[in-house]
Structure formats: C-alpha cells, structure tokens
C-alpha cells in the first residue's frame, strides 16, 4: 500500500473574480521509501498540491474534492487539531526559499528544539542533543546550534531546514524546490544529502521542482503537471526515454544537457493559460503542435500508455 495517495484532489483558490483552478483531479501515489518528483512551471499547481497535503493552504485556498490518503487514512476531513498530529510526525515539509524560511531573531538550534518539543515531551537539554545530532546528520557542524541564521551560508541554511523537517521523524518528506536558489555546486551537495537521507532513513519523498534534471537525479517516479493537471506520470526512466505528452517533450527540449552536443534550443510557444478561465478541453491545446478537434472539446483522462509504468493524459495515445 502506498504511504501517500492522492485521489482526484481538487484544490481551488477563491478570488473576487471566481475560483482559480490551481489543481484539478490530481491522482498520485507515493510508495514507501521511494521518491516521487512533481514537475511543472510556475502556476502549474505543484506547490498547491504540496500545501494541500499538509492542509496549510493560504487564505482562500480550499480542497474542493478528492481524497488524500496518508497511511490509508483520508486526511481531508480532519480538523486542525487532528492535523497537528500528522504534520511533522507524519508528513513534514521543507519550504521553498531556504534564505527566508528561518526566523532571523532566534538561534538555529532553538528553532529546531522548538519543533522537537512541540511534538515530543522531552527535556530541553535532551532536545538540544537531538538538534545537534540532526545537524550532524545533514552535514552541519553540531556546535553551530548556537548560531543565528545570518551566520549560516545559503547551503547550510538549506541543510538546517532539512534537519528541522526531520525533527519529529516523519514518514513522508515534502520538499518544495530544494536547492533552487542555491549555486550549482551547493545545489549538488544538497541533492546528494537528500539522496543519502532517503536511503539511510527509508524516507518517502515528494520532491517538487521546476527543474527536470534535479528530479531525474533523485526520484524513481515522476509526475508532470501543467495548468493544474497531471499530464504525464510514471517510472522516471520510462518518462525520460519515451516522453509521450507534447508538453513533456517540449520541457525536455528546453533542458539541454551539458554533455549533449551543441544544438539549437527548442521551446514551447505561447504561455500557460489563465486558471480563472482555463481553456476548454485539454488545457495544453492552445500551445500544442498536435492539437486536434477533440482536444478543444473533451478533457483527456490519465491512462496507461507506452510500456510499463507510464500514464499520459493525451488524445494522441
């Protein structure tokens, strides 16, 4: 049984002009001890999915349908108090923007200790010992518990955030754009850390990124989102070797590898749609080079295609 399963999750934001359809009918499965990559451009709904899973949507955001099964139990109907038992201990999140996610007026250690003591009834000194161990696990000198965030470099702050997310031994770690604001070398260090944590702790990970290559390095499965919908989903090798959805093909073309021979870069013409009023039929049809009449009329469903563990929502298949 998957540790985390989304069934037709629909999350919208209420605005004065109507509902913004940020995520619609998203169905995903995260197996225990595996990593699932969720890839999409800004506005594709990937962060909305992450926030829905923890039920920490900003004002106006509401889960309007579907189920979120964590360990077999639907967490959508849970109230705030019940959710508090799931957050950190069950599902934990590393937020985007490592530079701003720590509180600048508290020492890093005391922020980690706060997280530990909120979820476990242990003494302050025991919690500090735990915080030091956590920092050491993510590759930060344990004595730095007494430093303030401004004394940390960008990479260390990202590591400290990961340590904090692991404070209550979560089963699932959601990482929203890990390492995006960091330099390539530091980013590679962080990815290496995530990989080793996954193996060492048997963590299940949902990794959200706009960068296909980052996901390729860490995850076993991948889901591509476009304009609030999952357009392609499956085993990472299958998706990379044989991208089926025209959007996935376009994205892969926009990510040249450094080892590849010099080539003219390709891109996807046009821009993502307005989600207040998404296009009829397939949401990618205005930008799709293969759009047919049916694409403008009917909404394609995610279905098995290609070989093995591979799903696509496109009328071409």
């Amino acid at each position: 049984m998957p540790i985390l399963q989304l069934e037709d999750l629909t999350t919208n934001y209420r605005t004065v002009r109507g509902w913004v359809r940020a995520a619609e009918n998203v169905s995903l499965e995260l197996e225990k001890g595996k990593a699932l990559g969720l890839v999409g451009e800004s506005g594709s709904g990937k962060t909305t999915v992450a926030l829905s899973i923890l039920k920490i949507l900003p004002a106006g955001g509401r889960i309007r349908g579907g189920k979120i099964l964590f360990d077999g139990r639907d967490i959508v109907p849970l109230n705030d108090k019940q959710m508090r038992d799931i957050r950190w201990k069950g599902i934990s999140i590393v937020f985007q923007g490592s530079m701003n996610a720590l509180n600048p007026v508290f020492k890093v250690g005391s922020q980690i200790v706060e997280a530990i003591r909120l979820h476990e009834d242990i003494s302050k000194s025991d919690a500090y010992t735990r915080a030091e161990a956590l920092l050491e696990m993510v590759g930060v000198e344990p004595s730095r518990v007494n430093n303030y965030p401004h004394e940390f470099s960008g990479g260390m702050r990202q590591r400290a955030l990961i340590a904090m997310a692991l404070a209550a031994n979560p089963k699932v770690l959601v990482a929203d754009e890990p390492g995006t604001a960091l330099d390539v070398i530091v980013q590679a260090q962080v990815l290496q850390l995530m990989r080793s944590l996954k193996e060492k702790l048997g963590l299940s990970m949902l990794m959200i990124s706009h960068d296909l290559s980052i996901v390729a390095e860490v995850c076993e499965r991948i889901a591509i989102m476009y304009a609030g919908k999952v357009v392609e989903y499956g085993d990472i090798d299958a998706v990379f070797k044989e991208p089926l959805h025209p959007y996935t093909q376009g994205l892969l073309g926009a990510f040249p590898g450094i080892t590849e021979h010099r080539k003219k870069l390709t891109s996807i013409p046009g821009q993502p749609p307005d989600l207040l009023n998404p296009p009829k039929g397939c949401r990618f049809n205005p930008r799709c080079p293969y759009a047919m009449d049916v694409c403008r009329e009917k909404d394609p469903q995610l279905q098995r295609a290609g070989s093995g563990d591979h799903y696509v929502s496109c009328f071409l298949y």
Partner: protein
C-alpha cells in the same frame, strides 16, 4: 589579439569599500573592501557570443557593469574599439551608449511601471536624438517591436508593463536595448527569472537579433548547460578572478581548472539513467572581503598543494585559445620546458579528454 576585439579589458579591478564608523576607520587606518573583481583581463571578439559564467559572488555582474561603465573601475583599462573608455566622463560616454546596451535580469524591475511600452522602448531614441520627428520615433518602435515578436505592435505600444507576462516584458527590455542597433550587448542572466518553457525562445530571439546586426554579445550566467548551447567562448570566474577562458567545446569537454571541472560535474543531468557518481566538491564560495591567499580556490580544491596556498596562479595560454589560471597545468608545461632544455624528446602533454 586586439585586432578583431571589440572590447578589451586589462587588469580590471573593482573594490567596493565597506562603510564603517568614522572612529574605527581613523583608528585602524585602513579601509576594508569587497574585492568584487580583482585583476582580470580578457577580450571580446567582434560578432562573438562570450559567456561569463560563475556562482553568485564571483563578480560576473560587476564585470558586465564595469565594461559598460555603469560602475567605475578601481583600476585597469577598458577599451572599446581600441579606445580607452575607462576614464571617460558621463558626458563623454553618452555617444558610446548608442553602441553599448544592456538587458537586465529581472523584467519585473527593469521596466518603469508608470511608462507605456511605447515610451519605454522609445526612450533611448529620444535621449540620443537619433530620430527627427515623433513619427520617426514611432516607426522605429513599431519596427523593433515586430522584430521581438510583440505583434501587432500598435496594440502593445499602448500597454503598461503590468499588463504583460514575464516573457513579454523581457521582450520589451530586449527591444529597448536593440532599438539603436548596438554593436555590443551585455545580457545579465536574461532568462533566469522566466519559466523554463519560454527561456529558449527568449535566448534564440536575442541570438537572432545579435546575429542580424553582427553585434558582440556578453552573456552573463550561472547556467553552464545553457551557455554550452549558445556561446562561442566561455569565461569562468571565481571570487573576482578569471580562472579559465576558452572555446565552448574546450571548456565543456576538456575543462582544465579544477573549479571548472567541479562546476561541470555539479550540473544536474536530465537523464535518470546517468546517475552522477557523487563527486561533488565540498564547501561554499568564501567571502570576497577576505579572499584566501594564493589561489582563491585552494580552500575547496581537491588537488591543492603548497604552491597553491602561497602563490596566485597567473592566467596562461595552455593551448591555442585556451587560458587557465592553475598551478597544476603548469606542471606538464614545466616538464616540457625541462625536456626541451635538456634536449629530451618532447612527450605530448595535450590534456586528456
């Protein structure tokens, strides 16, 4: 080497002084400064695309601004078409601004939100007084908007920046930079704020505009993978120093400096079957206020030896058009020089690929 060069930089330095209290300054008698750019020399050939690559804090943006004289160099010489422009006043620079332009990183901040697109794009024409009548200004604006594919231009001219998407805004910024047909363009991370699916489109557009005019292009970026596909040559900066410079293929396929090698190894590969083997160097870029002595990379370099700590390696041409600042590449050269001097047969020391 200056024959075909349009821009040449020699010993360029930029130190930003750090402001401290008056008393501290008087007592200590010294000023502390950030050595953003510290003694770099290179040139940009006519019609070429040169990529300036480095991590944040490496001094690449400052270099771009210095060349355009948007910042004043602390020391060094900047030549444009053989003429030293490093000491020109603002007024003396004005006619040259027609020929040198810049596209900034963030199209959300580089466009005045209270100006119409038409006025934003027309501003260089008006400042330089190259058009005689208002009709001519408008004609030029329409023409350049068509060229950056903001069609129909009549419709875009009367909009404000907030009505445009990020990609469209960057097209406006590009139109503004190219309206005077500049011969030298600096683009500072022009696509890093944009969505991935439209990055290639904007880059291809800039390349087409540059090629059509035969202009030279300094492309400042942290993204090695993209520069591999658009640059003719690549210069790598680390902590204010140029560490390697050469043809794109040479830099990517046969990087000689350990830092360049580390940078290339750190670029994630969009291919799950080629899981990178964990060879990532540790540490982060040190502070440019107090950079390490000797070679600035020695604190992170896996091959550092005594000489690297003591001595700053000069940038030397190790093979044709491939420059490296590293003591390691000096060793085969030293052996070769020794062999030649001793009359031993020369063994090929071409860097292995």
């Amino acid at each position: 080497m200056s024959e075909a060069a349009i821009v040449e930089v020699e010993g360029l330095k930029k130190y930003f002084p750090i402001k401290r209290g008056f008393f501290t300054t008087v007592v200590s008698g010294e000023t502390i400064s950030v050595k953003a750019v510290d003694d770099i020399s290179f040139f940009i050939k006519k019609g070429e695309v040169l990529g300036l690559v480095g991590e944040s804090g490496s001094g690449k943006t400052t270099t771009g601004r210095l060349i355009l004289r948007l910042a004043d160099p602390t020391a060094g010489k900047i030549s444009y078409k053989g003429k030293d422009i490093s000491k020109l006043t603002g007024r003396e620079m004005k006619p040259l601004r027609k020929e040198m332009q810049i596209v900034f990183q963030d199209p959300f901040e580089s466009l005045d939100p209270r100006m119409l697109i038409k006025d934003i794009v027309a501003e260089p024409v008006r400042i330089q007084k190259v058009a005689k009548t208002e009709e001519e200004v408008e004609e030029r604006v329409k023409q350049i908007l068509r060229e950056v594919e903001l069609v129909p231009p009549e419709e875009f001219m009367l909009r404000f920046p907030h009505e445009l998407s990020g990609g469209q805004r960057q097209r406006v910024a590009i139109a503004r930079a190219f309206i005077l047909d500049p011969q030298f363009i600096v683009a500072d991370e022009p696509v890093s704020m944009l969505d991935v699916s439209i990055r290639a489109e904007i880059l291809n557009l800039m390349l087409a505009l540059v090629q059509r005019r035969g202009s030279s292009f300094l492309y400042i970026t942290h993204d090695l993978a993209l520069s591999r596909h658009i640059c003719d040559r690549i210069a790598v900066m680390y902590l204010g120093k140029l560490v390697e410079l050469g043809d794109t293929d040479a830099i990517i396929m046969r990087p000689l400096h350990p830092y360049t090698q580390a940078l290339i190894a750190a670029v994630p590969v969009p291919d799950p079957s080629s899981k990178r083997i964990g060879q990532v160097i540790s540490g982060e870029i040190p502070s440019p206020i107090n950079p390490p002595e000797g070679c600035r990379f020695h604190t992170r370099c896996p091959y550092a030896h005594m000489r690297c700590i003591a001595e700053d390696p000069p940038l030397v041409e190790i093979e044709k058009n491939h420059w490296v600042a590293c003591h390691l590449v000096d060793i085969p050269r030293a052996i070769e020089a020794f062999n030649t001097a001793q009359g031993f047969p020369t063994i090929s020391v071409a860097p292995s690929s």
